[in-house]
């Protein structure tokens, strides 16, 4: 009885979180152009999607920005983590405090502060400014995933590699980096996700005529969302879902086999 | 023996279809220091958790002082537990930790303060009232965990591998501390460990467990000197376990050679196992021995030499204060009292059950 109540509670929360997603998926097959009515089942929007250059362009921008900003943030963030690990306590906590600012600060404040910066630097608003902004808010996610790994790192392994004749660079690539890799990887994925889902900061730092999916949707809100957008979102979500299921299944199976 | 305090009656427990305890029966007397000893997964911790009330047995009863407490929740049981890795409340001071149980019982402030003072004195940590647990060493945290339990004046104290996280030297010190505390408090201790030395040092009674069964119950001396089966013999200390034939009462053929022994009642020409402790194997001049062999290994161990002697096709483990270099021919002799005869188990299952004779 108690267990059943717990399961129902979890199910209700999950339902709450996924109901809108289900709704969007259903709408992507809705033949009627308005959200409000079900006009029968269709694949039309999925086909139209591939002819809609505006949406495809926004998708390309989004993916490009997400990938490049996550990559840059991963490199900068990983190097920063390594550097911070060797720092004195005081300096380190100052650095961590600054790292936390973009995470704890309101996105709107981060957005307008960067906008003011770009204006005063005379930068041209466009992909470049969006990219700089995304790298800025992505770095903390990388640092926060790499730092815990860094702490667990056994300094003796690095020294052992040196002792066995490896150079500093070799020792780092062969011994330290593999240990950090899971943290780096999850930092990259986290950064990629955050960049993909961002609207507010992009809204303030994008130029006219440059759109990501988020800003495109925002401008469409007033006129009504194009059903192709539902189709695209459904495709993205399902792709990610399948990827995650594949990634999560295989190691689990392996460990289970190992245990038995 | 003093009065019976706890009786575990026919306890069985399985997790995910895996039998952890199988019809376990155990009686613990008042004022006894009982140790549950065995390798990991033998069921000793589950037994302790059933006593503490954190696990409910599938079948069987827990009788405490004549009262069935099988379904009594942990917070209503007249016993306390010292947990593995201490489980101190890290957000409270030492004094608050110790006072936790007493506040629930709504004791007076004066009483609580006296108790904190007394308990800290008992565990040799006077003056630590206002420290936080994180600022203490492992050994000190362990003492606080004990103090926190005993201020409630439990009739039974359960200790779940309490010394496991400490280093060797500290562990030995704490063993004496625990014995002292037990004598001072006059309460019953049930102690779980996989460390045979710890069990031998502290216990009045040792319960050796394996695969959910009790293998042997007895005093440290009897467990060490008269193991009832190969598992116990192997688990407690080093030993030579050799297949043999019981020719008749008081005569056993070991590796084809006849040895006198003191056991009777095993029948005629019956296959058995014999256990001989390495310190009970005497090395003598070749012709003075019952069996002849050659020393193959030699290590100095401080108090004694440890040697391996190849004799009769078996590698004998020998502890002796006399040195016999590798390659030397020696004779082997064993006092009849030091030969322990055990029935051969017919299957693995029987190895486990056959002891409850």
């Amino acid at each position: 009885m108690k267990i059943a109540a717990k399961k129902i509670y979890i199910a209700l929360i999950v339902l709450f979180l996924y109901a809108p997603i289900g709704t969007l998926m259903v709408l992507s097959f809705n033949a009627s152009k308005t959200r409000a009515k079900w006009g029968g089942f269709t694949f039309k929007w999925y086909i139209d999607l591939f002819h809609n250059e505006e949406i495809l362009g926004a998708l390309l921008n989004t993916l490009l920005i997400a990938f490049l900003s996550a990559l840059a943030a991963t490199v900068i963030g990983t190097i920063a983590s390594i550097a911070m690990n060797g720092m004195k306590r005081r300096t380190k906590s100052v650095m961590m405090g600054i790292t936390n600012i973009p995470m704890l600060n309101a996105e709107i404040v981060t957005g307008i502060s960067l906008m003011l910066l770009y204006i005063s630097l005379g930068l041209k608003f466009g992909i470049g400014t969006i990219l700089l902004s995304h790298i800025t808010f992505n770095i903390p996610y990388v640092i926060l995933s790499v730092m815990p790994r860094m702490k667990q790192l056994n300094p003796s392994t690095y020294e052992a590699a040196l002792d066995l004749g490896a150079s500093h660079v070799t020792a780092f690539y062969k011994v330290v980096l593999p240990d950090l890799l899971p943290g780096i990887l999850s930092g990259f994925l986290m950064a990629f996700t955050m960049s993909l889902d961002d609207f507010i900061i992009t809204h303030f730092t994008k130029g006219v005529g440059v759109d990501t999916l988020s800003t495109k949707i925002y401008t469409e809100v007033k006129k009504g969302i194009k059903p192709e957008m539902y189709a695209l979102s459904t495709l993205i979500f399902v792709t990610v879902l399948i990827l995650l299921v594949l990634v999560n299944r295989s190691p689990e199976k392996r460990t289970r086999k190992y245990e038995s | 023996m003093s009065k019976e305090l706890i009786h575990l009656n026919n306890i069985s427990k399985s997790f995910d279809g895996q039998m952890v305890l199988d019809e376990l029966d155990l009686t613990i007397h008042e004022n006894e220091f009982v140790t549950l000893l065995g390798p990991s997964g033998c069921g000793k911790t589950t037994t302790l958790r059933i006593l503490g009330g954190f696990t409910t047995p599938d079948t069987g009863k827990v009788i405490f002082d004549g009262r069935d407490i099988t379904n009594v929740p942990p917070n209503k049981r007249p016993l306390n537990t010292v947990f593995q890795k201490y489980a101190l409340f890290t957000h409270m001071t030492i004094a608050e930790n110790i006072a936790f149980g007493l506040k629930i019982k709504k004791k007076s402030k004066q009483y609580i303060n006296d108790k904190i003072h007394y308990a800290l004195k008992l565990v040799n940590l006077d003056g630590y009232e206002n420290r936080m647990p994180d600022s203490l060493s492992g050994g000190q945290q362990q003492r606080i965990a004990i103090a926190r339990a005993i201020v409630n004046e439990p009739r039974l104290l359960l200790l779940d591998e309490p010394l496991g996280a400490l280093d060797l030297k500290l562990r030995q010190e704490m063993q004496y501390e625990l014995i002292r505390m037990k004598n001072e408090l006059g309460i019953t201790f049930v102690y779980v460990t996989h460390d045979q030395e710890e069990a031998l040092t502290m216990s009045d009674t040792i319960v050796v467990m394996n695969q959910g069964y009790i293998q042997q119950i007895g005093s440290p001396e009897s467990i060490y000197n008269e193991p009832e089966n190969a598992f116990v013999a192997d688990f407690i200390g080093d030993s030579n376990i050799i297949p043999a034939i019981m020719i008749e009462d008081k005569l056993v053929s070991i590796l084809g050679t006849r040895f006198a022994c003191v056991d009777t009642g095993f029948g005629h020409n019956k296959p058995v196992d014999v256990v001989i402790r390495p310190e009970d194997v005497e090395l003598v001049a070749p012709l003075d021995g019952i069996l002849q062999g050659v020393v193959t290994h030699l290590i100095f161990k401080g108090v004694h030499y440890e040697m391996e002697v190849m004799a009769g096709g078996f590698e004998w483990l020998v502890h002796s204060t006399a040195l016999h270099p590798v390659g030397q021919e020696v004779g082997i002799k064993v006092d009849p009292f030091n030969i322990q005869i055990m029935n051969k188990p017919e299957s693995e299952d029987e190895e486990a059950v056959s002891i409850d004779i």
């Binding site: 709704t23 550097a83 003011l116 969302i225 | 009330g53």
Partner: protein, 272 residues
């Protein structure tokens, strides 16, 4: 290692100065000056004008309510999840991060479809002979949007904090005579404080400052302080006023940061 860490940390240090510190300085500069560049507090005092004060009050109220609802929904859930087997840790986190892969605006917009007069929820309610909901374009819809969007940010830190509590610590409390309510109040709740603080911060700040959720679910009449600031920057182009109002917002955020720094020294309540 220390000498090397200096130049290793240089790129990031430089980056944070240019893209974190200086931009914040610019907000301060714009917020405390007028169009001629002279120092003034007018942009900050502007928060007291009727329209702005009303927007701020509504923002604070709705974000507090949302934070409270998130906490009340998330705590029991986090407790249930923390008691499941540990090898599911990653899977549990995944369930609550996964929705982010569906665009945040679309997800929020989908609530319009669900909440509309003839929407999915009301159809179900009618079918069950229950009174219909009329919350679209009301503050309640904004609260729902906030709770919906920020609930995962409450669940994850709480879950992490609760999963970290040693089961034997709870057993020890029971062993010492504490019942479940007493154990919860004296042991579980205090030990989860880092998670609570982190969760509150992660929900309260974005809820307080949002302009999207109100725009999507609140109709055009309900203005939050975020909407006001956004309009100052994108429509009226009065950056000085917008920055001044942002400074007011940042006061709330700084209070929040200080609180989290005090209660969560080791970053135990972090989300990852």
């Amino acid at each position: 290692m220390t000498s090397k860490s200096k130049w290793l940390s240089a790129p990031y240090a430089l980056w944070s100065v240019i893209f974190i510190i200086i931009p914040l300085g610019m907000i301060l500069y714009y917020g405390l000056t007028d169009k001629t560049g002279a120092f003034t507090l007018d942009n900050i005092i502007a928060i007291t004008t009727a329209g702005h004060a009303k927007a701020l009050r509504l923002s604070v109220l709705l974000s507090l309510v949302s934070t409270l609802i998130c906490f009340l929904l998330a705590y029991p859930l986090a407790m249930i999840l923390a008691n499941t087997k540990t090898n599911k840790h990653h899977f549990i986190i995944l369930i609550f991060i996964l929705p982010m892969w569906m665009n945040f605006l679309l997800r929020t917009l989908a609530w319009q479809t669900l909440l509309e007069k003839n929407g999915v929820i009301n159809s179900v309610l009618t079918f069950l002979n229950l009174p219909n909901l009329k919350i679209i374009n009301t503050p309640a819809a904004i609260v729902l949007g906030m709770v919906y969007n920020f609930l995962p940010f409450m669940i994850l830190p709480l879950y992490n904090a609760l999963a970290k509590i040693d089961k034997n610590v709870i057993n020890a409390a029971h062993d010492l005579g504490a019942g479940s309510v007493y154990t919860f109040i004296r042991i579980i709740l205090p030990l989860s404080v880092p998670g609570i603080i982190s969760g509150i911060t992660m929900v309260f700040v974005p809820a307080l400052t949002t302009f999207v959720i109100s725009a999507l679910l609140g109709g055009s009449k309900l203005l939050l302080i975020g909407d006001v600031i956004e309009q100052e920057f994108t429509r009226t182009s009065n950056w000085h006023l917008g920055s001044g109002l942002s400074i007011v917002l940042m006061i709330f955020i700084v209070i929040n940061m200080i609180a989290s720094a005090i209660f969560d020294k080791d970053g135990e309540g972090s989300m990852l």
